[in-house]
């Protein structure tokens, strides 16, 4: 963000002002935006160094690095916005490796014409999410593209975290036949909340994104069950994509029980309406945990004891299927394969 802490110019007009090309041009307007919006909201000692880089001494332990870019329409949705999502997504990628998040970078691509008031709200939400996740946004970048060349705002964040336990090994290659598969709560909340908002579909009660930082939940689980084999957050592609990834990585199969999958009635209804499977829908505040079968109950109890894991469930087990299939026993007792989505999720015609 390379900003000095001297305020530039008059206050930004957050009521009528809009992002202009000059906000990315490296001049006074850009410095004004950085000072008054970004630096003010993200304030922390490393950012206050005011240099092109944040300089720090890493704590003892292994470091973990993750990055993600956030492009979402609508930018605001029930339960969050692109700002909070840009923090949660990246800290959760760190958490899935057992890393405690330390620092984030934030890169913004702003579209000319974006109301400054909306940008301020996004930045504020991002700052609040970072603070709640215990992570500091220590450096950043702003670019402006011409009107019509972006969806208002794209955000990239990179996160640096530390794994303090030298013995912890949470690779996706660790699943073993017989292991238990758990999920930390209801499936499909984020994706269906966003889709309903985008399509103008109203539900009663409204669908809410589950976007949340999972560091605390992971810490609680690992404290109770340090033998946990692997953790992954089922974001894009949903549970189906995540389990297929893990099955491929570990060279195993999995069998799920359809009746055990926790799904909110509203999400189930929205999925029925749009012809979409809840297992293919994105989550932003859930994790999949694979643990040795003997530790399944302990893991479930630890998850349920945490506010973000109250609806956790044991949903299936790992098999020795050489074809690495993820299968599901349906509520009627039939069996079917749970596959990756082929491409974009498209509503059916009839």
């Amino acid at each position: 963000m390379a900003a000095t802490m001297t305020p530039h110019g008059p206050p930004l007009d957050l009521t009528h002002g809009r992002v202009e090309m000059s906000h990315g041009a490296g001049g006074r307007a850009m410095a004004q935006l950085i000072d008054q919006l970004f630096a003010a909201a993200f304030a922390n000692p490393l950012l206050a160094q005011g240099n092109d880089q944040a300089v720090f001494t890493p704590p003892p332990g292994r470091l973990a690095l993750a990055t993600d870019t956030y492009v979402i329409r609508p930018r605001r949705f029930p339960g969050g916005d692109i700002g909070s999502l840009a923090v949660h997504g990246t800290v959760n990628d760190l958490a899935m490796g057992g890393a405690e998040p330390l620092y984030l970078t934030a890169g913004f691509v702003l579209e000319e014409g974006l109301p400054l008031g909306e940008l301020a709200a996004i930045v504020k939400s991002m700052a609040a999410a970072a603070s709640a996740a215990g992570v500091a946004i220590v450096t950043g970048d702003t670019k402006v593209v011409e009107h019509g060349h972006g969806d208002g705002v794209y955000i990239n964040t990179a996160g640096l975290g530390v794994i303090r336990d030298p013995g912890l090994d949470l690779s996706g290659a660790n699943a073993r036949p017989g292991d238990a598969v758990l999920v930390s709560g209801t499936l499909g909340d984020h994706g269906m909340a966003v889709m309903a908002e985008r399509e103008g579909l109203a539900f009663d009660p409204p669908l809410l994104s589950d976007s949340a930082p999972l560091g605390g939940l992971v810490a609680a689980l690992l404290a109770a069950v340090p033998e946990t084999r692997t953790l992954r957050d089922p974001t894009r592609g949903g549970l189906a994509a995540t389990l297929n990834e893990l099955a491929a990585q570990s060279g195993v199969g999995m069998v799920l029980e359809e009746a055990a999958l926790p799904i909110r009635p509203g999400v189930r209804g929205a999925c029925e309406l749009l012809g979409i499977e809840p297992v293919n829908v994105a989550n932003e505040g859930k994790l999949v945990a694979i643990v040795p079968a003997a530790r399944a109950e302990a893991a479930l109890a630890a998850l349920k004891a945490h506010p973000l894991g109250r609806e956790a469930a044991l949903i299936g087990h790992v098999t020795d299927d050489a074809a690495r299939r993820v299968e599901m026993v349906t509520t009627l007792g039939g069996r079917r394969v749970i596959d990756w989505l082929a491409g974009e999720q498209l509503p059916r015609i009839c």
Binding site: E199, L201, A202, F203, D204, P205, A259, R264, P265, G266, R268, G269, A270, E272, L273, G275, E277, A323, R324, R325, V329, T330, T331, L332, G333, G334, R335, R336, V337, D339, W340, A342, G343, E344, L346, P347, R348, I349, C350
Partner: protein
């Protein structure tokens, strides 16, 4: 829509205990040593059967055969080529329902690929969104690629009516609407399909045209039909009722989906369609060939909303993908897994034929829910 709607309208029709009882009744009704070849007409049935793993649960003699009731699957390549030609025109915004964007046309081109080349192709979830788009963009020509059986024709008719009332001169439709009874007639009339003992009849289509629309077909072809909903217990009950009719030597139209389907269907919707549309002399179906009076076009009074007239389009002779067995699969003559391209060159992420695209397509259903060993990753 309320969160508990699924508890009332969906959950009872997936009840495991009722399912076990129905399966027991089917097992008792099916006579040992004889087979019951039953075609589920609709892609919605195909999807439900695969999704709930029903084939595993039925007695060995009961064989479910996929029918042609998947709108994007039966659309011939020539019609897609017309849509691609329209999309290539700079003044056109081509709108359509989602599934269609991925269907391969001649040479493997798709509307998705056209979009990546710069064509303005947009997915809508309602035909009325296309009308709204035309109103908002008066300097562009908005074409709605209309597709589907009797279920989706009324919404297209409403869109045309709206465009007329709003005086829009930049909205038109490329009509690919087709009729169900001619397709059933062709299947039962020996279009190369296997001998069928019964048909699980359309759900949503029948809410519009009513179960009475099939009585003549069942009698003429001496084949029983049971209209069924798209939930697993609906399908199981239809299977049970069909076995009963076959055993008794009856060929009637039964209505399992009584909670939504009446004898006469939806007269208001039918009247609207009748007012705006007329049957074409014939229409090409993938797999079934050209069937007389099986497709709909706008009546001359609405010709200004007909994209074929407005842009002077003619249907080209489309090139079906070489080696693709979609045509045979659509009439139940071939199982998806018997197609040489199935799960090898033709996969959901890189479909060669239309049946691998839609969730209702027989090949996509067979692939997504398959039990056979997975093919090696490409």
């Amino acid at each position: 829509m309320s969160g508990d709607a699924t508890d009332r309208f969906v959950a009872p029709f997936r009840d495991p205990e009722l399912g076990r009882r129905l399966l027991g009744a089917i097992a008792r009704a099916a006579r040992p040593g004889r087979t019951y070849a039953l075609m589920e007409f609709c892609g919605g049935h195909t999807h439900a059967i695969a999704r709930h793993g029903l084939p595993d649960l039925l007695p060995a003699g009961v064989r479910l055969i996929h029918g042609p009731g998947c709108p994007v699957c039966v659309l011939p390549v020539g019609r897609l080529d017309m849509a691609l030609a329209l999309a290539a025109r700079p003044e056109v915004i081509l709108t359509t329902y989602g599934d269609l964007l991925r269907i391969p046309a001649s040479g493997g081109d798709t509307l998705f690929k056209a979009r990546s080349r710069g064509a303005d192709v947009r997915m809508v979830t309602s035909s009325l969104d296309a009308v709204a788009l035309a109103a908002a963009q008066p300097d562009r020509q908005v074409v709605f690629m209309a597709i589907g059986f009797e279920t989706t024709t009324p919404p297209t008719a409403v869109a045309v009516k709206q465009a007329e009332e709003r005086g829009l001169d930049n909205f038109s439709i490329l009509s690919n609407h087709v009729l169900t009874p001619p397709a059933i007639d062709a299947i039962l009339g020996g279009s190369g399909a296997p001998r069928l003992d019964g048909i699980i009849g359309p759900a949503h289509v029948s809410t519009v045209i009513g179960w009475g629309a099939y009585q003549d077909l069942a009698a003429r072809h001496q084949t029983p039909m049971v209209i069924a909903g798209f939930e697993p217990l609906d399908v199981l009950q239809a299977v049970h009722d069909l076995i009963g009719q076959v055993n008794a030597g009856r060929a009637e139209v039964g209505n399992q989906y009584a909670r939504a389907v009446s004898r006469d269907g939806n007269p208001a919707a039918c009247a609207l369609v009748e007012a705006l549309f007329e049957p074409r002399p014939d229409f090409a179906w993938r797999g079934l060939g050209r069937l007389p009076r099986s497709g709909l076009k706008l009546r001359p009074a609405y010709a200004r909303f007909d994209a074929e007239a407005r842009f002077e389009l003619t249907e080209p002779e489309g090139r079906e993908p070489p080696g693709c067995a979609c045509g045979e699969v659509l009439k139940g003559a071939t199982e998806p897994a018997d197609c040489p391209l199935f799960a090898t060159r033709c996969r959901p992420e890189s479909p060669v034929g239309a049946c691998m695209v839609s969730a209702e397509g027989a090949c996509a259903a067979a692939h997504g829910h398959r039990r056979a060993p997975a093919a090696a990753p490409a």
